[in-house]
Symmetry: C2
Subunit: 336 residues, 2 copies
DNA sequence: CTGAAAGCGCTTACAG
DNA sequence: CTGAAAGCGCTTACAG
């Protein structure tokens, strides 16, 4: 790359000190009472030479990089891709850029990403924390690193977070199914101790209990790394035999898609053979044999709030923000 | 954030100069002939204090940030989300992190992103250039900024690029349709002068001409910012009247999805009323009433190659790499 | 074998 | 109104 123009180049060209140029470039010419003619000449030369401040130098000096570290499960997952997009837009509005990484729901990848981003001096983090990373998060928190969790959080580590009210979302979905006459309602969730998953499960269970269906509760758990094979086993458990379910609630977008492939393969009629409610909107849900009912997350709001809270933290606020957003239950043919 | 540990802290603790600590931390203790005992003590104290180098300071000094700037159309678009994921993984393998931005196929957003990333001193760029940005790209190229274009490039600006052989892909799709007996084959593309779009159109036209169907060529163009309304008009033009098409080729993933919504609404039977070939794989294609045939791009390879070429450029290579990758035509029910 | 020193490009308290 | 100087944390050519 060709040599960049520095404050020094402008200073030499105009014949003043670097300090004066810095003042003018930072709009401090009033407070510093820089002579009007000098201001004029500095501005002119800066424009001519096309001066752009070296942010690295600024960062080293000021300690602020105007950079946000975003760690999600997988940027190619539509939920995370969409929220990344919102976060990016909001970050730019606040003068920040985004460095991102995918942790693949893996403890070690997450640790490595956090370290990498810390070494790059990001001003703060937005993280969808992987299972078992509560100590990593706690360490960040103890170092007073500005931090906002999204999608999940840890009960035992008080942090800022912006999440869906997952309990309500699940409860609402199950209540809707019950209202439409279904009773043998199953759920397929990830095997995970993470709070968003536990809350979705709790919402299901409580809705069932509250409707005297406690004995009909049937949950199958699927491992993240073996989603398709585990899904197949789970579906068979729920659908085989005389005790088979008549409705099924999927706990995430990826689980829904994986399940739909199987349902298509098994040639099940929806909702006659099986009613379904999925998670997160998706073109695939629209094109399925019967359009899918699903829980819609307010992704835009989640991203906007996450950036807002983070920037407040970076700017020095120490109020902890715990934000729960509301879902929308999109009711369509699959749960009629 | 709490104070970080610096080389100085270690130096004071051990009672040696900062230079020595730097040598040891950078594994130069052999060349610099640092005393074995000193090396030992420095390592020990560094570990105790949990020293992590300040990358900002390193960057300012060395001029290298070990950062890649990635500019795509929209990170929430599955094609770009998937390729971003691959690029991220590859970048990490090479010791780089990724700063990304979505340009929304907009000239000005693109310019603003490029400037932001340059000010952040990224070591190089991977860009899916928006229409009309050839001057931006040319400017980067002239400043010798390491750069690799993906998905598209500009004929008039010689740069590295990694793209699909779009002509072949289109040609193959159309030939397949013709082979299956379709003759009145239409195409819906973006209104764009970008080369990937022009090549896809050229492939369509040439396949038609080569099969004596030049007179049946019918292309409708849709604006990126008005995709759904323009799609509706385009479909009506192609499907209304006695001259209506019997097969339709969509030029991108987003166009395919938009078209499918309409096809579903119009209740067209696929492939009886209309045969279809789409672009880029997608769960939605699998769940459509008839599984969709489509052109699959080698996204993994595209990302891997882009990073490889970029890192070579950053490391000083000045060979220009122009890489065209091959598609796979996935044949299914929609084009039978 | 080790250290003093310059310098990357910037900001800012201080002096005049 | 203006400038000399320190310092952010690092690397590295140079001297001894």
């Amino acid at each position: 790359m060709s040599k960049r123009v520095s404050l020094k180049d402008i200073a030499e060209n105009v014949g003043v000190s670097i300090a004066l140029v810095s003042y003018v470039m930072n709009g401090q010419e009033k407070q510093k009472r820089v002579g009007a003619d000098v201001v004029e000449r500095i501005r002119e030369v800066a424009r001519e030479l096309n001066y752009k401040p070296n942010q690295i130098a600024q960062s080293l000096r000021t300690g602020s990089t105007k950079t946000i570290g975003l760690i999600v499960g997988d940027i190619s997952n539509p939920f995370f891709g969409n929220i990344a997009r919102v976060i990016e837009d909001e970050a730019i509005k606040h003068g920040y850029t985004v460095i991102f990484g995918s942790a693949d729901e893996d403890l070690h990848k997450s640790a490595s990403l956090v370290e990498t981003l810390i070494n790059r001096q990001v001003d703060g983090f937005i993280i969808a924390p992987a299972e078992g990373t509560s100590l990593q998060i706690k360490a960040l928190q103890e170092k007073k690193t500005p931090l906002v969790l999204i999608d999940r959080y840890f009960d035992e580590v008080p942090t800022n977070y912006v999440v869906l009210n997952n309990f309500d979302a699940s409860y609402d979905a199950i209540t809707h199914l019950i209202g439409n006459g279904y009773r043998r309602i199953g759920m397929i969730a990830y095997q995970s101790t993470l709070i968003h998953m536990q809350e979705r499960i709790r919402g299901y269970k409580e809705a069932m209990s509250d409707n005297n269906l406690k004995n009909a509760i049937r949950i199958e758990e699927v491992r993240y790394d073996y989603i398709n094979s585990d899904m197949e086993k789970a579906m068979h458990k729920l659908m085989d035999g005389k005790n088979k379910i008549d409705a099924l609630f999927f706990a995430t977008n990826a689980l829904t898609i994986s399940g739909l492939y199987l349902i298509k393969k098994l040639n099940l009629k929806i909702p006659e053979d099986l009613a379904i409610i999925g998670f997160d909107g998706n073109a695939a849900f629209d094109f399925f044999s019967t359009p899918l009912s699903y829980i819609e997350q307010p992704i835009e709001e989640m991203g906007v709030e996450a950036v807002r809270v983070l920037v407040e933290q970076i700017d020095g606020s120490d109020e902890i923000a715990n934000i729960q957003l509301r879902h929308t239950l999109i009711k369509r043919g699959s749960s009629l």
